[in-house]
C-alpha cells in the first residue's frame, strides 16, 4: 500500500484513528452522560429535576468543600513547587539525588499514597502524632471537623502532586535568560524582589498550564478522600460515586458528574481568561 506523499491530506489519515478513539471513548460518553442528566428517569422528558433533587442530598456543601480543597491544595503545591523548582534550577553537588527524591511521589499510585497517609493521619494516634509527641506536642485530631478533614486531605494530596507542579515550574524557570537576574542583582534587588519582578512575570505560561492541569485534577480528587475519610464531608466526586454505587439508576450520579464537569471547565476558563486579561494589560 503506497500513499502519494504529496497529497495534502495524507497526514490526516494517520491521525484519524486517534481522533476517532478520543471522540468515541471521551467526547461521546461525556456528551451522552450530560445529555441524560437533563432527562427525567421516569418520563424521559427534558428536565432539571435530577439537579434539584441533588440539592436535597448536600450538593451545595459538596461544591463548597471541593472548591476549598482545590484552592488549599493548589496553594500548598505551588508553594512547595516553587521551592523545589528554585532548588533544582541551581547547580550543586548532589542535585541529581535530591531531584530523584523529589520526583519519587509522582509515580506512586494514588491508592498507595492515600493508604500511607491514612497510617500517618488516622482518626486516633498514628505516625504524625507520634512524631509530634517527640517534640512534646499534644496529639491532634486530624478529622475534628470538616475543615480540618479537608486540610489533612490537602497535605496528603500535595505530597503526590507537588512533583508535577515543580517540574513544570522548573521548565518555566530554566527558559528565563540569566542576564535578567544579573542585571537585577547589580541593581541590588534581593531574592524575594527578584522572584516577584523577574521569575514570576517571565513564566506566566507555565504557571497557567500548571494551574489548569492541577486545578482540574484537584476537582477530580477521588481515591484519596474516599480512603482517608469516606463520603463525609462530601466532595463532588465522592457524592457522584456514592450515587453511582447506591442508587439503582444512573441519573443522579450523572447529574452530579455534570456539575463536576461544569466546575472543572469553569475553572479552566477562568484561568485562561485571566491570563488573557493580564496579557492584554501588559501589552
Amino acid at each position: 500500500m503506497k500513499f502519494k506523499l504529496k497529497h495534502k491530506y495524507f497526514p490526516l489519515f494517520f491521525i484519524l484513528p486517534l481522533i476517532i478513539y478520543i471522540v468515541l471513548i471521551s467526547f461521546y460518553p461525556a456528551f451522552t452522560g450530560i445529555f441524560q442528566a437533563f432527562h427525567s428517569p421516569s418520563t424521559g422528558k427534558l428536565t432539571t429535576s435530577n439537579f434539584t433533587a441533588l440539592t436535597h442530598y448536600g450538593l451545595f456543601s459538596a461544591i463548597i468543600n471541593t472548591v476549598i480543597l482545590t484552592a488549599g491544595a493548589l496553594a500548598i503545591e505551588f508553594t512547595f513547587g516553587f521551592i523545589i523548582a528554585s532548588l533544582l534550577s541551581k547547580t550543586f553537588r548532589g542535585r541529581s539525588i535530591f531531584s530523584t527524591i523529589y520526583i519519587l511521589p509522582f509515580g506512586i499510585a494514588t491508592v498507595v499514597s492515600a493508604y500511607t497517609f491514612s497510617l500517618i493521619f488516622p482518626a486516633v494516634g498514628g505516625y504524625a502524632n507520634s512524631l509530634l509527641s517527640i517534640f512534646g506536642i499534644h496529639a491532634i485530631n486530624w478529622y475534628s471537623n470538616a475543615y480540618m478533614t479537608l486540610f489533612t486531605t490537602m497535605l496528603a494530596d500535595s505530597w503526590k502532586t507537588t512533583p508535577i507542579v515543580a517540574l513544570i515550574l522548573l521548565a518555566g524557570m530554566s527558559q528565563i535568560p540569566p542576564e535578567l537576574y544579573n542585571a537585577a542583582k547589580v541593581d541590588g534587588a534581593g531574592p524575594i524582589k527578584r522572584f516577584f519582578s523577574i521569575t514570576l512575570p517571565n513564566m506566566t505560561d507555565f504557571v497557567t498550564i500548571a494551574l489548569i492541569i492541577r486545578g482540574i485534577a484537584e476537582f477530580n480528587i477521588f481515591a484519596l478522600p474516599l480512603i482517608l475519610f469516606g463520603y463525609s464531608p462530601a466532595l463532588l466526586t465522592t457524592l457522584t460515586y456514592n450515587f453511582y454505587s447506591t442508587t439503582s439508576t444512573l441519573y443522579y450520579s450523572l447529574a452530579s458528574a455534570t456539575i463536576l464537569f461544569a466546575f472543572a471547565m469553569g475553572f479552566a476558563l477562568i484561568v485562561v481568561f485571566r491570563r488573557r486579561m493580564i496579557g492584554a494589560y501588559e501589552a
Binding site: 495524507f10 494517520f14 519519587l104 491508592v111 498507595v112 500511607t116 507555565f206 482540574i216 481515591a223 472543572a264
Partner: protein, 273 residues
C-alpha cells in the same frame, strides 16, 4: 565569598528538609509493611524507627488473598494500555510531524483538552455501554478507558522524537522507492525508539496506578490498586500495606529509570510556546 558559602549551606539545609518531607511517607509505608504489627498498627503512637524485620505481612497478604488474579489483571491491562497507546500514537505522531507545525500543535492541544474531561464523567456512561456490550470487568474495556490518559502524552513525546530525525533520512528512503508505511515502521520507528520506549513505560505506569476507571469498570475482577482499596475497606490494613508495597516497587524502579524523561515540558503537553 563568605556569603556564597553561607548561601550554599542554606541551600543544602532547605533541600534536605524538603527531601525528608518527601521521603517520609514512603519510609512509613515500608516500615509498616516490613514490621510485625505489634510495633506498628497495634500501637496508638507507633515508633518511628524500624526495630524488627518480618516478611509475615507479605506472606499473610499473598496467602489469604487471591493475589495472582489481580496481579495478572493489572499486568495484562498495563501492557495492553502500552500496546494500544503505541499502536495509535505512533501513526498519529507521524502524521502530525508531516503537518504544518502550528496546525500540529493545535491538534496536540485539542488532544490534551480531551484529557481534561473528568474521569468520572466518562466512566459512568461508558460503564453502561460496556455492560451492554458484555465487556464489563474485561481487560480490554479497562485498557480502552485508561488509554485516554496516556494517548495524548505518548503522541506528544513520540512527535518530539520524530521531529528530531533529520528530514534527509526519510527523503532518501522515499527516493529509493520505500512506501510511507514501510518508511514509518522500518526506518523511522527504530530511529525514534528512545522516545517510543519512554511513551510506553509512562503509559504502563499510568495504567498500573490507575484507580477511578478500574473501580468503576472492573470492580468484580479487580486490579491491584482496587485490591488495596478493598483491603482497606475490609479493615485488613496489614495486607493492604503489603499490597501497597508490592505495587510501589516497580513504580519506584521505573520512576528512577525514567526521571530524566519526566520533564516539565512533557507534562505540560507542549501547551506553552
Amino acid at each position: 565569598m563568605k556569603r556564597k558559602t553561607r548561601n550554599k549551606y542554606l541551600l543544602y539545609v532547605v533541600a534536605s528538609v524538603v527531601a525528608i518531607i518527601f521521603i517520609y511517607p514512603l519510609y512509613i509505608l515500608f516500615l509498616v509493611s516490613f514490621s510485625p504489627t505489634r510495633y506498628t498498627l497495634d500501637e496508638l503512637f507507633p515508633s518511628q524507627l524500624l526495630s524488627h524485620i518480618t516478611l509475615a505481612n507479605f506472606i499473610s497478604a499473598l496467602t489469604q488473598y487471591n493475589f495472582v488474579a489481580p496481579m495478572f489483571k493489572s499486568l495484562e491491562v498495563a501492557f495492553l494500555v502500552g500496546a494500544l497507546t503505541l499502536a495509535v500514537a505512533i501513526p498519529a505522531a507521524y502524521g502530525l510531524s508531516k503537518m504544518n507545525k502550528r496546525l500540529a500543535n493545535l491538534i496536540v492541544v485539542f488532544l490534551f483538552m480531551a484529557n481534561l474531561v473528568p474521569a468520572l464523567v466518562i466512566a459512568i456512561p461508558i460503564s453502561a455501554e460496556f455492560i451492554k456490550a458484555g465487556l464489563f470487568d474485561s481487560v480490554i474495556a479497562l485498557a480502552l478507558a485508561q488509554s485516554l490518559f496516556t494517548m495524548p502524552l505518548a503522541t506528544f513525546i513520540i512527535l518530539g522524537a520524530f521531529r528530531a530525525i533529520p528530514k534527509d533520512i526519510e527523503n532518501q528512503a522515499r527516493v529509493d522507492g520505500m512506501g510511507v508505511l514501510r518508511t514509518l515502521y522500518t526506518l523511522l520507528t527504530p530511529l525514534a525508539k528512545a522516545g517510543i520506549a519512554v511513551a510506553f513505560l509512562l503509559s504502563w505506569l499510568t495504567s498500573w496506578d490507575e484507580f477511578t476507571f478500574a473501580v468503576i469498570l472492573s470492580p468484580l475482577k479487580p486490579t491491584l490498586p482496587v485490591i488495596v482499596y478493598i483491603n482497606i475497606t475490609e479493615g485488613s490494613l496489614v495486607q493492604a500495606a503489603a499490597f501497597a508495597a508490592v505495587i510501589s516497587i516497580p513504580v519506584i524502579v521505573l520512576t528512577v529509570i525514567l526521571q530524566k524523561y519526566i520533564k516539565g515540558v512533557y507534562l505540560s503537553g507542549g501547551l506553552t510556546g
